[in-house]
Symmetry: C2
Subunit: 328 residues, 2 copies
């Protein structure tokens, strides 16, 4: 939530000159993105976002993200489109950082999603999965099941500082998931971080998806499980089955979940809850309480994990139990 790299007027003007978008008429650092620096740039041709990739980003992975956004936008998905300069480049450098200019997307992210919002997110996620089906690049999920144990081991000794028994809970869950994780589900490009702050709405219609910097190749249904965690729990920690039903119905209406994917949803939801529990716990331990970056409560995801541990079937998330193929 900060501008990590400062860019001056001469730098930005020289940088923008090579895009053929006219001159820069305004330029503001925005408090968006935890990992990167973002500027809102107005040129004579409109508004754009300039992202400077900071140290935590692997530059070798940037072409994947930029090509993906370009591919998705080209397939009709509303997402930021990387702009190419006069030499055809969409990845350049400014102020010593790799940087890309992308189109500006209107819309607001919602703090309190309704079931209608959840339904639209489900549809948009499925549309993204389908749009990416013929995308040729792949990227390993750096926060997939094989990464969870090593990540846990980096703070295991201090896990119980967050909450008594947290270490044992994580240990048991890692063992469960190692044994039960479905490895043969349909794979593809997933967003992997489609939280409400990464989805824009305009006049209550979904207007776009942003922040593809966790996108990777993994089980498509895992992305659905991430969204169940990200969109369908209330502030009091309760799962809202109306929202779950709307999200799953929305997804299924665009890309039908297979029987194997339906059956796997509870374990995928457990894995997804554990993934966010682990990164939040790691950040909690490694972020000073008075840092400007607000620490997110790991306990929230411990509670979601506990909930998913009680789930026996995807019907409990609101998934319609009928076999749609035969119902037609």
């Amino acid at each position: 939530m900060a501008v990590y790299t400062d860019v001056g007027d001469e730098e930005i003007s020289a940088f923008i000159a090579s895009y053929g978008l006219g001159e820069v008429v305004s330029f503001k650092g925005i408090a968006e993105g935890v990992e990167n620096t973002n500027y809102l740039v107005e040129t004579e041709q409109g508004w754009f976002i300039l992202t400077l990739y900071e140290k935590r980003v692997n530059p070798a992975e940037l072409p994947f993200f930029l090509s993906l956004m370009e591919h998705l936008a080209g397939s009709g998905l509303n997402c930021p489109t990387p702009v190419r300069d006069s030499e055809g480049c969409n990845l350049r450098e400014i102020a010593g950082r790799p940087a890309a200019l992308v189109t500006f997307l209107e819309g607001l992210s919602v703090r309190r999603p309704t079931a209608d919002h959840c339904g639209e997110v489900g549809e948009a996620l499925a549309r993204m999965h389908i749009a990416a089906a013929d995308f040729s690049l792949t990227r390993r999920n750096g926060l997939g099941i094989d990464d969870w144990r090593p990540l846990y081991e980096r703070f295991a000794e201090r896990a119980d500082e967050i909450r008594g028994g947290l270490g044992a809970m994580i240990e048991a869950e890692l063992a469960f998931l190692d044994a039960r994780w479905p490895r043969d589900l349909p794979q593809g490009v997933i967003h992997a971080d489609l939280f409400p702050d990464n989805v824009f709405f305009l006049h209550d219609q979904l207007s776009g998806l942003i922040d593809f910097y966790f996108a990777c190749t993994d089980a498509l249904a895992y992305d659905v499980a991430v969204c169940l965690n990200a969109w369908c729990f209330e502030a009091d920690g309760q799962f809202n089955i109306t929202k779950g039903r709307a999200l799953l119905k929305g997804y299924d209406s665009v890309r039908q979940l297979s029987e194997a994917e339906r059956a796997a949803l509870p374990v995928l939801a457990r894995g997804s809850a554990l993934r966010f529990l682990l990164t939040r716990a790691y950040d909690w331990i490694n972020t000073p309480p008075d840092a400007l970056v607000k620490r997110k409560d790991p306990g929230e995801y411990a509670r979601r994990l506990s909930f998913h541990q009680t789930i026996r079937s995807a019907r409990e998330y609101g998934l319609d139990g009928t076999d749609r193929a035969s119902a037609r």
Copy 2:
């Protein structure tokens, strides 16, 4: 340089609804302003800046700042104009903070001003002084000469931690200024903080002045002295007389400096250098080195003060020595 107060989509939509500007279509926290939270808001009718006034701002002074901006804009000066809601209010509340919506100004602030930029700033400053001449409110300068000693006393014991001898230098200067400060110069509304980051340029023309939150009633020529300090020194600490000449000539071409003002410039420049030395020294001592807010070097203003102490006449700043009235 941060968003101190978080505003949600429902809050901003409800807030903007009462302005008759259509719906909010985009909303970004911007990394601008050290003391307040600023959001860039796009509505169906265009772009605006929403400022939330944080704890360091005295709410009782906000009507002065907002009325001043409205007055200046009404007089044709390019500056943010507070927007009034359907009830005629320009000062409202959001997220528990006093807040104002102002028009968005295009332009970029320059990092390395040229003499031409300095000339335009001089002209714009004089135009602001003239435009404010019939403004009816007044505000005491909270960082004027009478405030410097009390401010110094808050860190006097630690002044030499910044640089050996700094305490003695400040003490001597306070004594000098107490004895020599001109108290009978023409008064009016001054900007008091017209640094390069508060001036926008577009296609090398000055496009607007922003950030009137230090504006107050004081000697007009003191504002000129602030600008000499803020615009006419090079990165290596040298005064650039070409820039000084351009700035003073630009000012004088719009509002002619009186003989008394000309004679007072060196002492006003010393006072202005001391004012920024004092606030920077205070912030230096009270800001942890690892804070996200970048500390500004007090030494820079100690060196400027030393320079001004050698000045015997405003001619040494580049001010034309002829009596313009008789030259015409």
